[in-house]
Symmetry: D2
């Protein structure tokens, strides 16, 4: 599991008094940075090799400003050229949202999917999701 | 079908030169405004009666700054107290992303789901999605 | 004057029930697009030749979701290589905010300011601000 | 001086490869949270008592993704009912932007400015800006 603590920003609230749902994809992207670093150790945007193919978020509880949020990021499935990342957003010891993101390892020049290299796969496997 | 034309904003791009994936939920929310208006004709946030339970986006093609985007919003399923909205994002006559959003008609005071009123249901049914 | 009508987005509100102040720079950037187009008719980010040097916003009235906003963009000052843009945000016939943005015409390759070409200057002069 | 370290988010970049200028007001708001806490120890949005009257940012250097940013927040001027906050954004030991924000201590119910209480003023004075 990769962990990230996020302090909600005031502007991330909306007029309903909670964090607006469109903010969660932003936090989730932030929580996947350790994975980006595995694929692109220098985070060089000119050699970016991941594509986001699918994003899915289930909203379970409202999230509020004023209390830190804990983001837990797991690998749910590691395929040949793609992976599914599971991300949980916790606040006040309750799970508030669950995200699932499918990323593809992609060669932008050749415009095709590339197998995930073995050393990255081994690293990712340390963070596999095991349902309780 | 509800239609909305959106002009991508420069800040919505990211360093990969395309529209960042976290922007799409923002556009989708914008495209659902006609539905919000059915449930809350005055858009009064103090009587907001819709909850977003699930968001799902499939990213098919990159979207770029400089060309308008067309957003098509359909009802995919209208349940007793909930509905699933299908939204398509088009640019240059190509479908670039498909979103699915599940909303629940919700009484915040009683903290429970409420049936969708008949007159709203009838209006929503005019916008049902019919796969080609 | 360049004019743009903007429909505030729900997520642009914050928990105080109004549009969060950080949204205004976003709208202002959107309102300057006709100026970007003068300098870069193809809006090609690889040849971007404007730098934002300074941004100043005076907040006069709260802005709300549910009512369109009108954005008026003027040239306040056109210098040799720079210009100051004045932008007004109106809602319900009241001026809610005034922005001033200083842009520099910039050659990214040579890393230096460039004079504003005559044909662009002439076009900009049609939009000069004349205080009432 | 109040200090905050911010990790730029990927989506905060734009197609020019740097952090988009509209992101800075967001970071600055984040950096002022210790000040919000002085005025509203419970950060309760229903009793929010600060208004942002003016925002000014000078952009000096480009800011990039991949390197943390340090935010330094000072009180530049403490008036009777208002204060001017100076904020500096540093990256790689260089000052990249300077912000100035004018806030007013405001009674929303009475709709008028209120003097800054003495105990808050004393706390703020510990963070006064002293130019080098």
């Amino acid at each position: 599991m990769y962990q990230l603590t996020i302090k909600p920003r005031f502007l991330e609230t909306d007029a309903l008094g909670h964090i607006n749902h469109t903010v969660l994809p932003v936090w989730l992207e932030d929580g996947r940075e350790p994975i980006f670093l595995l694929f692109m150790p220098e985070l060089n945007v000119k050699n970016w090799n991941l594509i986001l193919a699918k994003l899915e978020i289930s909203y379970k509880k409202q999230i509020y400003f004023g209390t830190p949020v804990e983001l837990r990021t797991y690998l749910k499935k590691i395929g040949n050229a793609s992976m599914t990342v599971r991300q949980e957003i916790w606040q006040n010891k309750e799970i508030c949202a669950v995200g699932e993101v499918t990323n593809i390892h992609f060669d932008h020049q050749a415009q095709k999917a590339m197998p995930i290299p073995k050393h990255i796969r081994q690293e990712l496997e340390k963070h596999l999701y095991k349902p309780a």
